[in-house]
Structures are given as structure tokens and as C-alpha cells.
Symmetry: C2
Subunit: 201 residues, 2 copies
DNA sequence: TGGGTCATGTAACCGGTTACATGATTTT
DNA sequence: AAAATCATGTAACCGGTTACATGACCCA
């Protein structure tokens, strides 16, 4: 049967359009923020700025950076001596693509793939004490993240990530308190101000 | 060279241990909450309870549910007539596995794979007005999510997800305000109470 | 100078996505 | 009873993960 695309094999259509994934943009962004850097540098830069938001395993950095270079969004140079490190820098095209992506007003599909939150979705299978433990665990984990980010010398990188960590802590903390105090529903039936996590201290 | 596992090929170790992914538990949880249901039911149940936290495309429900049935965590029955729907129900083993997973105190790696937050990590490449737009967009998107969840008849499913939506809205709203008002840093250098997003109204 | 760690890279597998496809039910 | 839509399912590709591997650099 004939494809909906007409006579064109959809696979070829796809393969001629090297798609940029979120990971691609994470790389582009890291290079843009850092200037010339090697794949290994990128690993650290990403860990510091995006951190737990979007981890990219180092194995992928090599493939993806090379791909972006082939697409003309990064330039690739290699040391002549020693480890023959590769070094990448963003091109004008790359910066344009990055900014276009950052600026598109169109909705990105919201998706939060955090295992803690997934568990929370099934929290009604647990009793309150267990939910409280869950909340405490994740509060601790986020505190650690926040402190790690705060310990960075360069305070500006990860500024927003730190803000997120704070918000996440507030969320889990509020949740824990609402489970501890039977009077406080995790969510009122009519969403309103009470929904909003409030600072503790 | 000999494998670190000794004489056992790690691949065979892996393949004899059908691993349960987060998606597996999402399915188990949905079945546990719902009772007997078809893959198609699961799609809707997940959309309502976990919603944007963890989307599972319907194509995967068939494979994964069958896999879980093979592993003895779900039972599988099929209609004799008509569409010959498959119906799944959780087994005792399945419930145990689910609860064990829900209760493990061990840290899950925190990872938030939301494109909006990824963009935020590179927000310093944008000027304040653009960051404000970004924040407004995502505030709107989350509002929509929250309202969709609130419109559900069954108020209890998705209770915690609604709480999360509220927190996310507060985060983006606070961020937007902090960008609008030059005096309010998105994050103070020393993290503290001011970090926490505060309810608007 | 050799053992340990740092830094870099490769390769295979697999879960998840996307595209394709079709029978059952509802609607007009 | 045809068209539209609902519900169900299959299949191939590919990004991302995990495991493997090895040269450079550091330090005793």
C-alpha cells in the first residue's frame, strides 16, 4: 500500500532532516555559555549548570557533538599533540538555532520524568507515614542538589537551577507537612492559594 | 579479557533478569488503582492520574503489560467475542513489587526532564523580557494542566498531581515576577527563605 | 617506573517513539 | 449502510544507556 507521503519513503524524509533533540540544545547551550570546550569539559559544565535537570551521559557527548559539527552548528578542532582533545565552539548558525529554540513561544509539552513524582502519583496506596517518608527522602535529595549547586564558585551558572531546587524543596516540605497534619489536604478540591507551597521558616 | 562478573556473561545476567523500569511501575500502579482494565483503559487512567508527569504512549502499553503478565505481576485475560479485549489485573506478586518500589527509602536519582526547565538553564542568553515570556508560557501551560486535572470527576485520582501543578505554577509565577522586578534576584547568593516561591494573591 | 586515576572514547543493546494499519462501534 | 471515529494493535527506527576499553597524566 502506498504511503501517505505519496511516493516518498518517509524514512528518507526523516533521515535527510537531522533532528535536533532537547539533548542537542543542551549541548549547544553549554557550548554557547562556555566558549571553546572539549566533550569532557561539557560534561562538567552541564553538571554544574543544568545538573539534575537534564543529565547527559558522557558517552553521548561525543556522538552528539560530532553530529552538531557535521550539521554546521558547532566547529570542531583537534589538538595536534598529547590527548588530541577535540574542542568545540558554537557557530553563528548554532547560536541562531539555539536562540530560536529558546524563544519559540509555542508550547513545549510539559513532562516531568522524576521518579519521586511518579511514586507520588501512587501515594494513595501508601499510608500517611510512608508518604511522609517519601517526602522527607526527596526533600533531603533536593537539599543536597541545592547545596551542591550553591557550592559552585561561579554563582551565575545554575542560578535558575538553584531556584528550582528551592521550589522543589518547598513542594516536598509542604507535602510532608500536609500529610503530617490531618487537617491540611494535599490539595483542596478547588485549587487556590492554599495549593501553593509556602516557605517554612 | 575476563568480565568483571567472573565467568558469567553480563548480557545473560541482564537478560534473565527482566528489569522493571519506571514505566513498568507506572503500569503496575495504574492497574492497582483501577482494578481489571484493558490497555486502552490504562491509557486514560494514566492520563488522569499521572498525566504529564509520566506519559506512556499507547503502543508501549501492549508490550509492557504483556511483559508484566509473563513475569507474573499481572494476570491477562481476553474477551471471547467482539474486540477480544485484553484485560489485566494485578497479582499478589505484582502488588508486592509495587509496594516495595514505592517504599524503598533509597534515593532515586533526581531528574527533571522538562523542556521548559532546560530552557531556563540557558536563560542568561536571553534578555529579561524574553525570560518573562518563557515564564508566562509555562505558567499558562501548567494552568491548563491543573484545570484539566481539576475537571476530573474523580477528585482523588491525580490529587497529588494537582498539587504539583500548583507548585509549578507558583514557581513560574515567582520567576516571572522576579524578572519583572529588577530588585528581586531569581536566586539570592545564599539560598534561604527568599528562594521559596511565595503564593501570589 | 609502575600503579592509580583522569580523561576519553567505542559498541551493543533496548526502551520508547513514531509511523503505520485495521477491525469494531457509533453516527448520520 | 457509508462515513467517521473509537479502540486496538504492529513494526521499525533511533536516542540514550550501560558496559567495555584504553591512552594520557600524576604521584610515590
Amino acid at each position: 500500500m502506498r504511503s501517505w507521503y505519496g511516493s516518498v519513503d518517509p524514512r528518507s524524509v526523516r533521515s535527510t532532516t537531522p533532528r535536533l533533540t532537547a539533548t542537542s540544545f543542551a549541548l549547544l547551550g553549554a557550548v554557547a555559555q562556555t566558549g571553546p570546550c572539549s566533550p569532557y569539559d561539557l560534561k562538567r559544565v552541564l553538571a554544574r549548570s543544568i545538573g539534575p535537570l537534564w543529565e547527559v551521559p558522557h558517552s553521548q557527548l561525543y556522538d552528539e557533538a560530532a553530529r552538531l559539527a557535521r550539521a554546521g552548528l558547532l566547529t570542531e578542532t583537534q589538538e595536534g599533540k598529547g590527548r588530541r582533545r577535540l574542542s568545540y565552539e558554537i557557530t553563528e548558525d548554532g547560536r541562531r538555532a539555539l536562540l530560536r529554540w529558546l524563544r519559540v513561544p509555542g508550547r513545549d509539552r510539559i513532562e516531568i520524568r522524576d521518579v519521586g513524582l511518579l511514586k507520588l502519583g501512587f501515594a494513595d496506596l501508601l499510608d500517611p507515614a510512608e508518604v511522609r517518608h517519601l517526602a522527607q527522602d526527596h526533600l533531603d535529595a533536593w537539599r543536597e542538589v541545592r547545596d551542591d549547586l550553591a557550592a559552585e564558585v561561579d554563582g551565575s551558572a545554575g542560578r535558575y537551577t538553584r531556584a528550582l531546587a528551592g521550589a522543589a524543596m518547598a513542594f516536598w516540605e509542604h507535602l510532608e507537612r500536609s500529610v503530617s497534619e490531618p487537617g491540611t489536604p494535599p490539595t483542596p478540591d478547588v485549587p487556590g492559594p492554599a495549593l501553593v507551597p509556602v516557605g517554612a521558616d
